[in-house]
């Protein structure tokens, strides 16, 4: 097993959804999708965003796109135009998730 930043095996996009954000994470190769399923549990993502996300984290599987979708509830400091934060729309949450360290089998990484 190798420990790598998630950005090594996935890309992402995020944006606002009500008073929370959604973070889509897509495997760079189909064979990395199982790693995403194992490593990116809702609990772990919630912990990763513990200082940003005050609500619960929901996870949805999108196997046809080799992707996972996370809803980070109450993560913008208020919805609509209520938030005072720089990133009031959660545009950077995708990049934040890509900073997470994940365990990847060596065989999958080597080539």
């Amino acid at each position: 097993m190798a420990t790598v930043p998630l950005s090594k095996i996935a890309y992402s996009r995020s944006g606002d959804k009500g008073d929370g954000s959604n973070v889509g994470v897509i495997a760079r190769r189909p064979e990395f999708y199982d790693v995403l399923l194992d490593e990116l549990t809702a609990e772990r993502v919630k912990k990763h965003f513990s200082r940003i996300c005050r609500g619960k984290v929901e996870r949805f599987e999108v196997p046809n796109l080799h992707a996972l979708n996370f809803l980070l509830h109450d993560s913008l400091g208020g919805g609509g135009s209520e938030s005072l934060k720089s990133d009031a729309q959660g545009k950077t949450h995708g990049l934040g998730l890509l900073m997470m360290e994940v365990e990847v089998p060596d065989a999958l990484l080597g080539e």
Binding site: G24, I26, V62, N64, L65, G80, L84, L95, M99
Partner: protein
């Protein structure tokens, strides 16, 4: 005979997107339809306010300017234009557009509008008829904020846009229709798809979702940004659709950016909720059925899309006033920049307190931009910053308190620590906070109207 292909492009992802999007789309390659998206929740409340001051306002004026610029190509190439630029006053937008077309010397151009989405004046009637318009997120009844409501619009689907196109409109101006409907409507019209053909409606919806944010599916905001060629000349997306509901995502030749399975799937997950239930007024699309294939460079084929019958309700977007806020910024530079910036924030709160103005902690914000505020708790803050931007803000039901806060930023330049600068643009002033109240309404209570006029 070759298979019929319909080309639909989106040149405007939101009100404020680059004016070059639509201009380059009509000039740099073939096109049947040009769509433009102007509306967001906050936009509706701003437009409603403008209309209350002047009954001739309340629509996206940028649309009229853009149309003036692209009109020669639109007329010569017979490109049809569909935009939700009507805001809360599609009729006024129609008149402005007709006047622009007449001034440019084109006669016989049909301009259609779709109205009926604006229910601000019908709220009490709807509540009395048994539509509580409860908040979808927390179940509260609208009566709690009724006297603070600024705008109320129902998300309209493709049907009235299809009606306008079938009546010969070359330009269709809608109010608050859904973004994907701008794209699905011309496909339904061109291919004669039935409103009970869920797979086709879902395909049109997915096509609309992919292009609704403009260049965000052609390399904009893409994780691997170094791999995106010539971002300055990024091509806006073009859908090439076929009657069977499959379509290609592409862009005009020799434009910048890229169209890959990666760039398209990045946009598919944008604003995603439950992928199996993407609810629109026309259909419930199932994003877990979408298949993507790179068939050529800068061309991704989309197929396999399934959908289910539409819901009995329509979504309502209500905005209401939730007090005031102000945010200001100072640059703090030199040794100990962060410590000095924190001191500046403390000084502001203390000086306001000396004048009897207090804000609870939950309604104050201090960010040291440059120290990692976007990745709080995720990435380690860099050490020894030589400068930071102090971004400081408040919110309150009391407008005077918010304006009072704005007076305490500039004084730090002369009565704070050394190295405080970058105070430009005057005092931050209180602006209204517009909050969003999502609700549902029985679709039978909402009637749309289509009106066509000719230049």
């Amino acid at each position: 005979m070759s298979e019929k292909i319909v080309r639909v492009a989106n040149g405007q992802g939101f009100w404020g997107d680059s004016p070059l999007g639509p201009v380059r789309l009509v000039r740099e390659g073939p096109l049947d339809y040009l769509t433009m998206d102007y509306l967001a929740e906050v936009t509706m409340s701003i437009l409603q306010k403008l209309k209350s001051r002047d009954p001739a306002k309340g629509y996206a004026t940028d649309f009229v300017k853009t149309l003036e610029r692209i009109l020669p190509e639109v007329v010569e190439k017979n490109i049809k234009v569909i935009a939700n630029a009507g805001g809360v006053n599609p009729r006024a937008c129609q008149e402005a557009v007709l006047e622009t077309i007449r001034k440019a010397g084109y006669s016989g151009v049909k301009v259609g509008i779709v109205s009926g989405d604006d229910i601000l004046d019908r709220l009490d009637e709807l509540i009395a008829s048994g539509e509580p318009l409860k908040n979808m997120d927390d179940g509260r009844p609208l009566s709690e904020v009724r006297n603070r409501v600024l705008s109320a619009n129902v998300y309209i689907g493709a049907e009235p846009i299809v009606e306008a196109l079938s009546k010969g409109a070359q330009i269709v101006i809608a109010g608050r229709c859904t973004d994907p409907a701008l794209v699905s409507a011309p496909l339904i019209h061109e291919f004669g798809w039935s409103f009970s053909d869920h797979a086709k409606l879902a395909a049109g919806t997915v096509a609309g979702h992919i292009v609704e944010c403009g260049a965000q599916c052609t390399g904009g905001n893409f994780t691997d940004w170094r791999s995106v060629p010539d971002m300055a000349r990024i091509g806006y997306p073009v859908i090439e659709a076929r009657a069977d509901g499959t379509f290609d995502v592409t862009k005009h030749p020799e434009t910048g950016g890229l169209v890959t399975v990666e760039s398209v799937s990045s946009q598919l997950v944008y604003e995603m909720g439950d992928p199996k239930n993407y609810i629109t007024p026309d259909v419930v699309a199932d994003f877990s059925t979408i298949q993507l294939e790179q068939v050529e460079p800068d061309r991704v084929r989309v197929s396999g899309i399934q959908g289910r019958k539409r819901t009995e309700t329509l979504k309502v977007s209500i905005s209401y006033s939730q007090g005031y806020k102000a945010v200001g910024q100072l640059v703090v530079a030199g040794p100990d920049a962060e410590a000095k910036a924190r001191l500046c924030a403390d000084i502001i709160w203390k000086r306001l307190s000396l004048d009897g103005v207090e804000f609870p902690a939950a309604d104050r914000l201090v960010e040291l931009v440059g120290s990692g505020v976007c990745f709080d708790g995720i990435a380690k803050a860099p050490e020894h910053l030589s400068e930071v931007a102090l971004r400081i803000g408040v919110r309150s039901p009391n407008r005077a308190d918010v304006d009072r806060f704005g007076m305490e930023l500039a004084p730090l330049v002369t009565s704070g620590p050394p190295g405080v600068t970058g105070f430009a643009g005057g005092r931050p002033k209180a602006t209204e906070i517009v909050s969003y109240w999502p609700a549902l309404v029985n679709r039978e209570k909402v009637q749309t109207q289509v009106i066509i006029e000719e230049s």
